[in-house]
C-alpha cells in the first residue's frame, strides 16, 4: 500500500521517474493519516459521549432550589476539560508511537528513505497528519461543548420559567471560560497563542524524537526550554483573572515559541536528510 501511494504520484519523463512534490506530500499525508483515522474516530466518539454523560450527571441534580453554576463553570467542574486533555495526550502518545514504529519491526523508515520523494515530504506528511488529528479532536470538542450546552439549557429551562437560564449563555461561556478561549479564540492574540501551541507541540515532539534517534543530546535541552515556555503560555492563556495576564509577556512567549518552532522544523529536516537513525 505504501509503494502504491507513491506510484500514484509518479510521472514518466523520458527515462527518469520522479514525483511531483505537492502530490507526493499529499499521498504521504493520506498514507500517514490512514494510520490515525481509526484512533481519531475512537477518541472523538469516546470524548463526545464522555462529556455528554459528565455534563448530564452534573446538571441532573439541578432543581429550582439549587444554586446554578454558569455553563462554563459546570463544564469545568464536570471534568469535561480533562477528557479533552486526555484525548490530546493520547494523540501525542500515538504520534510518538508512529515515529518510533518506523524504526521498529518492519523498519518502515528504510522504505521511506528509499522512496523517490524528498525527505522533507516525509517529515511534512507526518507532522501535518498529527496537526490535523489535533484539529479534528478540537473540532469534536467544540461539538461536545455545543451539545453539552444544549443538555444544560434544556434541563434548566424546564422549571421556574427558565429564570436560571442565561440569555446568550453559550457565547458568554466561550468568552469567559479560559479553556474555551484557548480552543476557540475569538481575538487575534488568542488565535496567535492557540496557533503557537499547536505548532510548538507538534514540531517539538517530532524534534525531540528525532534528536533522540540521532543521538543529539542537546535537542533534549532545547525541547525542555520549549516545554517550559509552552507550559507558561498555556498557564497564562488559561488564567482565570485576565487582568493579571500581561500582553507583553504573551507576545514575548509566543514569538519565542514560534522561533523555536521554526528552529525545530529546520533542524528536523536537516536530521531527516541526514538519516536521523545513525
Amino acid at each position: 500500500m505504501l509503494c502504491d501511494a507513491y506510484t500514484m504520484g509518479m510521472v514518466q519523463l523520458g527515462e527518469v521517474e520522479f514525483v511531483k512534490p505537492w502530490l507526493s506530500v499529499y499521498r504521504l499525508m493520506n498514507d500517514q493519516f490512514s494510520r490515525w483515522f481509526n484512533l481519531n474516530l475512537t477518541i472523538c466518539t469516546v470524548m463526545l459521549n464522555a462529556t455528554n454523560i459528565l455534563v448530564r450527571m452534573e446538571v441532573s441534580d439541578y432543581t429550582s432550589f439549587t444554586a446554578h453554576e454558569r455553563f462554563e463553570d459546570l463544564y469545568t467542574s464536570s471534568g469535561s476539560i480533562w477528557v479533552y486533555v486526555v484525548a490530546v495526550m493520547i494523540a501525542c502518545g500515538f504520534f510518538i508511537y508512529t515515529i518510533y514504529s518506523d524504526y521498529w519491526g518492519s523498519k518502515a523508515i528504510y522504505t521511506y528513505m528509499t522512496l523517490p520523494v524528498r525527505r522533507e515530504a516525509i517529515y511534512a506528511s507526518k507532522l501535518i497528519a498529527f496537526m490535523l488529528s489535533l484539529i479534528f479532536i478540537t473540532a469534536f470538542q467544540l461539538i461536545s461543548i455545543r451539545v453539552g450546552h444544549s443538555i444544560y439549557a434544556h434541563h434548566i429551562d424546564r422549571y421556574a420559567d427558565g429564570m436560571y437560564l442565561m440569555n446568550n449563555g453559550l457565547f458568554l461561556a466561550v468568552i469567559r471560560s479560559s479553556f474555551m478561549r484557548l480552543i476557540l479564540p475569538l481575538s487575534w492574540i488568542g488565535f496567535m497563542c492557540t496557533l503557537t501551541i499547536l505548532l510548538v507541540l507538534s514540531t517539538g515532539i517530532y524534534y525531540a524524537v528525532l534528536c533522540e534517534r540521532a543521538d543529539r543530546r542537546y535537542g533534549a535541552i532545547v525541547s525542555a526550554v520549549a516545554g517550559i515556555a509552552l507550559f507558561d503560555l498555556v498557564r497564562q492563556v488559561t488564567r482565570e483573572d485576565v487582568l493579571d495576564i500581561s500582553l507583553v509577556r504573551l507576545i514575548f512567549v509566543c514569538v519565542l515559541l514560534l522561533s523555536l518552532s521554526g528552529y525545530f522544523i529546520i533542524h528536523s529536516i536537516y536530521l531527516v536528510r541526514r538519516g536521523a537513525n545513525v
Partner: protein
C-alpha cells in the same frame, strides 16, 4: 485510503470555522429593550442616553432614544477595558486620582494626588470646641480641581469654632505649605443651640469654586468664588428643608450647571432632591426637583447616576438595586435595574426602564448561601445624556 485526509480536513475546518463565526456573531444577541414604566415616551423626544454594559472581556455600547435601543458589542483581549469609577465619596480612593487622609490629631490632612505626590494642609483647629467632632462630612468633600490646580477646604461641623480656609494645594510647585485663599470665621458656632456655619464641601464649575455651607442646620448657602480672585463671590441662600442632608452628590453639566443631589426618604421610599444652579458670573438657582424612587434603592457607592438638562427637561439616568422584592435568605443577591427619568418643572413626566441581561451573571447567587461575586459580571458604565 487515498483521499481520506481531504474530507476530514474540510470537516474539521468547517466545524471550527462555523463555531467561530457563529459565536462571534452571537455577541450582538444580548437583550436591550426599553419599557415604559410611567408617562408617555414622547417626553424622550430629542433625548439620547448612551452607556455601556460589559465585563472586562466584552462591552456592549447602547443608545437609547424615543425609538428604542440600538446596541453594538466589542470583545476585548486583555485589560483594555477600564471601568470608570461611579461618583464616589465614601471610599478612600477618590476616583482613583486622589487620596485624602486625616492626621490623627485632626489638625491637618494629607492629600495624595496620582503622579504628583503628597501635600499636607494645616486646616486649623478651634479654640475650645469639642475636639474630635470638629469635622463634618468625609474629608474628600473638601477637594475640588480647576484645570490642574487643586483646592481644599476641610469640611467642618458646628463644633468647629476656628477659622476655616480654602487652600490652593501646592502640587507641582516648590512650596511645601498650601496657600490660603479665602477664610470663613466660625467663631460664633454653637453646637449646643445648633447655631452657626458648617462646611459641607467644595465643588468646581468651570473656573469657579463653589463652597457648600449649611447655616443653623437648616439653610443651605451656596457661595461661588472666582478661583483667580476669591474676593469676588456671589451667594445663594436656600432656606431650610430637612432634605438638604450633609452628604450630597455633585454633578456638573457641560453647560455650567451644578446639580447637587441630596438623598432622603419618605414613606419608606428613597427620595432624591436635585438642586440645579447655573454658575456664571452670577449664580442662578434654576430649579429643585424631587425624584421619588418607588421601587428599589440607589446608593452612591454601588450605583451609577448621571443627569443633564436637555431642552428645559431634566433627564436622570441611574442604576438601582432591586431591594423591594422578597429576597429571603439570599440577601447578597444582586438585581440591578437601569432607570431613565425625564422631569419637567420638578415633576416626573416619563419613567422608562432598560431591560438587559446584567442580572443573568448572578444566577449562581439566587440559591447560593456562600455569597461572593462571580469572576466576570457585567456592569453599567460610561453613561451620558445628549
Amino acid at each position: 485510503m487515498r483521499h481520506g485526509i481531504a474530507p476530514i480536513a474540510i470537516l474539521a475546518i468547517l466545524v471550527i470555522g462555523y463555531s467561530a463565526v457563529d459565536l462571534y456573531a452571537a455577541k450582538d444577541e444580548a437583550r436591550f429593550e426599553l419599557v415604559d414604566r410611567y408617562g408617555d415616551r414622547s417626553a424622550m423626544e430629542g433625548i439620547t442616553v448612551r452607556g455601556t454594559l460589559g465585563d472586562i472581556l466584552h462591552r456592549s455600547e447602547f443608545e437609547i432614544s424615543m425609538d428604542g435601543v440600538r446596541h453594538h458589542t466589542e470583545l476585548f483581549d486583555h485589560h483594555e477595558y477600564e471601568l470608570s469609577t461611579p461618583i464616589n465619596r465614601f471610599d478612600y480612593g477618590y476616583s482613583g486620582q486622589y487620596w485624602v487622609r486625616r492626621n490623627q490629631l485632626g489638625r491637618w490632612v494629607e492629600i495624595w494626588k496620582r503622579g504628583w505626590g503628597e501635600v499636607t494642609v494645616y486646616t486649623g483647629f478651634s479654640v475650645g470646641g469639642n475636639k474630635g467632632r470638629e469635622y463634618g462630612n468625609p474629608f474628600e468633600y473638601g477637594l475640588a480641581s480647576v484645570g490642574e490646580k487643586d483646592y481644599y477646604v476641610a469640611p467642618t461641623s458646628l463644633h468647629f469654632t476656628g477659622i476655616a480656609a480654602i487652600f490652593e494645594l501646592p502640587f507641582g510647585t516648590n512650596r511645601e505649605v498650601a496657600r490660603q485663599l479665602a477664610t470663613i470665621s466660625m467663631a460664633d458656632n454653637d453646637a449646643e443651640r445648633s447655631k452657626g456655619l458648617e462646611i459641607l464641601g467644595l465643588e468646581a464649575v468651570g473656573d469657579r469654586l463653589i463652597l457648600v455651607l449649611k447655616e443653623d442646620r437648616t439653610n443651605l448657602i451656596i457661595r461661588s468664588y472666582d478661583s483667580t480672585n476669591v474676593e469676588r463671590f456671589s451667594e445663594e441662600v436656600l432656606s431650610g428643608t430637612e432634605e438638604y442632608v450633609d452628604q450630597y452628590e455633585a454633578i456638573v453639566d457641560d453647560d455650567g450647571t451644578l446639580h447637587l443631589i441630596f438623598e432622603s426618604s419618605a414613606n419608606d421610599q428613597q427620595v432624591l432632591t436635585i438642586l440645579s444652579l447655573y454658575v456664571g458670573d452670577d449664580m442662578t438657582h434654576m430649579e429643585d426637583a424631587r425624584l421619588v424612587i418607588e421601587e428599589g434603592h440607589w446608593h452612591s457607592r454601588d450605583h451609577q447616576l448621571t443627569l443633564r438638562r436637555v431642552d428645559g427637561k431634566l433627564v436622570v439616568v441611574m442604576t438601582l438595586d432591586d431591594r423591594n422584592e422578597d429576597t429571603g435568605p439570599t440577601w447578597f443577591r444582586e438585581q440591578t435595574r437601569f432607570m431613565i427619568d425625564v422631569l419637567q418643572d420638578g415633576e416626573v413626566r416619563y419613567r422608562g426602564e432598560l431591560l438587559a441581561d446584567q442580572n443573568d451573571d448572578f444566577i449562581y447567587m439566587l440559591n447560593s448561601r456562600e455569597g461572593g461575586y462571580p469572576v466576570y459580571y457585567r456592569t453599567f458604565d460610561n453613561l451620558s445624556i445628549e
